[in-house]
Amino acid sequence: MIYNLPFIAVVAMILIGLYAVLFKRNLVKMVIGISIIESGVNLFLITLGYRWWGENGGVAPIFTSAPSEAVKNAPESMVLPVPQALTLTSIVIGVAVLALMLSLVMHLYKHYGTLDIIKIRRMNEE
């Protein structure tokens, strides 16, 4: 029923984030745009690892709380674990890049007094 709705959501997030980075003039909005692209790509990684099973979908690959019939036919009933591990890494990368960019934006505001990238570039020219 839901065909590839998640992938359309992924593309929407990536394009919105790209729009914010390319066309917005405020520095903080550019940083927000990059984190939107980041979460879009993370969603793409997660949705690649989904596997449909039975009538109510795949089960998380954790054996402590998995229902008994899911554990019996184990590999087919469980969702792929590798993309989830990759997304963990990519989320932490997003946090690190965000922290660095925001500290640079604070310094740019202290030096140039404005958050508008066009004004900053003009001030930087002369």
Binding site: I2, V11, Y50, W52, P61, V82, V92
Partner: protein
């Protein structure tokens, strides 16, 4: 409409076409090949002793990625401290 925005619009539209095409062509819910993940799901308990499939990958099968991730956090923290080093009372 400066040249910069025109170039940005062209770049944006090319990428938009690429991404929309990939989204429409991909099939959700039935991955083509899954043998690496099946191996991991079946061998988590007796090979690494954990019940959680994700944590075995994060710390044992692909532990080196997590070491890279820890260095990324370490680099970001020392980068931020280095950038704010002139902040004294």
């Amino acid at each position: 409409m400066s040249i910069r925005t025109i170039v940005a619009i062209v770049f944006f539209s090319i990428l938009a076409v690429f991404f929309v095409f990939t989204a429409l062509m991909l099939s959700f819910g039935e991955p083509k090949k899954t043998d690496m993940d099946d191996y991991i799901i079946m061998h988590t308990q007796n090979e690494t002793g954990t019940n959680s499939g994700v944590t075995t990958i994060v710390f044992d099968y692909r532990g080196f990625d997590t070491l890279g991730e820890a260095t990324i956090l370490f680099a970001a923290v020392s980068g931020v401290i280095m950038i704010f080093r002139r902040v004294k009372k």
